[in-house]
Amino acid sequence: MPRQEPWLRSMVDFYATMMRTQLLMQFQYRAATYMYTLGMVAEPTIYLVVWSSIARSHGGTVNGLTPQAFAAYYIVWTLVRTMNIVFTPYGWEERIREGQLSAGLLRPLHPIHFDLAMFAGQKLVWILMYLPIAVGLSLVFHPALHPGTVQILVFLVAIWGAYLIRSMNLWILGMVSIWTTRASAIFQTYVLTELLLSGRLVPLTLMPHWAQTLAAWLPFKWTFYFPIEVLVGHMSNLSLVGGLGMQLLWTAIGASVVAGAWRLSVRHYSAVGN
């Protein structure tokens, strides 16, 4: 057997190389990224305007949230939303069709690392592009945003926690494409549920109580509402750390499901192949 580098060293090398190359590539495709960002900003702006409008016609607040609080929520939302964008089941269908899944099976590395590393690299660019957008939106909507140091630090970790949870979840949904060509229907149901229960549509405190209880038991809240609240809310240090712990828990759960489902899916795929 030829000599091998230690596993950890290779993994770090892999992630570093992938992220570096993605960084360079994203800079190349600046125009397309800007266009995408523009379309993406429309969503939180709409929510923001709608809720501010309601707040203003009701004596200034909705459930204790002022237009400025909404502004803060939805401006931070934009960055968190970016961190949530990962490989979709639609991409999986293409990947299977083009034979890239087979190519991945020939390599001695779990294919999930490709996706994790590739998107992580892209995120770095997107975070940089987010800052001027945030500034622009702040000038228009005057958010109430005064985070402390601890909050900022926890936030920087929490956005990656969100990224990991969503990566795991969507990988599971993606693997469904190995079993059926109708994975898109399942995916769309997932997106709808997530939209309502993650804090993407509205801060969870505005949802009816039964929805909030439901959200507490699901992973969605930790990909959206939690990271945003870390920065714009007033959580105690204990709940900040507790929240990070929950993100870790949901990531671990997701990872175990991925591991088990992957084994089954590879077996299914290898029975038929491409």
Partner: protein
């Protein structure tokens, strides 16, 4: 007009094509239901915290949501597939094949793709509109209904012009990759009365991206808010936009043909 004949031919082709994939119907129906469900849930949520939004009641807003879904169905089944294909072909240099045909190029690029199953949204959107309109205190007369449909068609025309202008941009900027997503994001603004948006945003949404005219104006017919001046302005704007689109298209086409010669 020649264009209508062409449209009919492509429609038949598209339908025959898609009939092969029956499962697509169920998928499209499912998607449509999800989209309607989402719209209703959001409305319910908003109206659990208020009774009017910018003067619009829940039923009235239901009409707007319905119109937006309906027009969305028109866009996703006829306009968007064509524009997406146009952008792709410009990027890959494959448009030349089309330019050799004896028909008007604009008609061809606009009519050849039909994704008939997406039109399910037209039905569900119409259903939502009917439910909303039924719950509004005063009824809608025959004249109103006709005006509504006419303005819907007009709105579709405006959105088509907008899309074509965007797609024509690809003659200059070759990578218009995220066009669909960009549009979807902006189109969502149409779900709410444009009055809630701050001034400059409202004007952009009316004149720059004619969603205001396309969605809110037909809805205004059914909710009894339409004023004649608005209709006149809308029609003039529409005529101007159609003309501008045509001119822009010709310019872009000349550039493309010249460039690849």
């Amino acid at each position: 007009m020649r264009a209508f004949g062409l449209a009919w031919v492509y429609l038949r082709l598209g339908v025959l094509n898609e009939l092969q994939y029956r499962a697509n119907f169920f998928i499209a129906a499912f998607q449509s239901l999800l989209s309607v469900a989402l719209g209703l849930v959001v409305l319910a949520l908003v109206y659990s915290h208020t009774t009017t939004l910018n003067g619009w009641t829940e039923s009235e807003l239901l009409v707007i949501v319905g119109v937006q879904i309906l027009l969305g169905g028109v866009i996703h089944s006829t306009i968007q597939p064509n524009m997406q294909r146009l952008v792709d072909e410009v990027r890959d240099g494959k448009l030349d094949l089309l330019l050799t045909k004896p028909e008007d190029a604009q008609a061809l690029v606009s009519l050849r793709e039909v994704q008939i199953w997406q039109a399910v949204d037209v039905i569900s959107g119409a259903a939502v509109v009917v439910v909303g309109a039924a719950r509004i205190a005063h009824g809608v007369g025959v004249v109103g209904a006709i005006a509504f449909v006419a303005l819907l068609g007009f709105g579709a025309l405006l959105l088509y012009c907008f899309w074509l202008i965007l797609a024509t941009g690809s003659f200059w900027v070759v990578n218009m990759g995220y066009l669909a997503e960009l549009f979807e994001g902006i189109y969502q603004t149409g779900r709410w009365p444009i009055g809630i948006y701050p001034g400059w945003l409202r004007y952009s949404m009316t004149y720059l991206v004619p969603i205001g005219f396309a969605v809110t104006v037909p809805a205004q017919v059914l909710t009894g808010r339409l004023h004649w001046p608005t209709v006149v302005v809308a029609l003039c704007f529409g005529a101007a936009l159609t003309g501008l689109t045509r001119v822009f298209w010709r310019v872009g086409l000349r550039r493309y043909s010249g460039a690849s010669a």
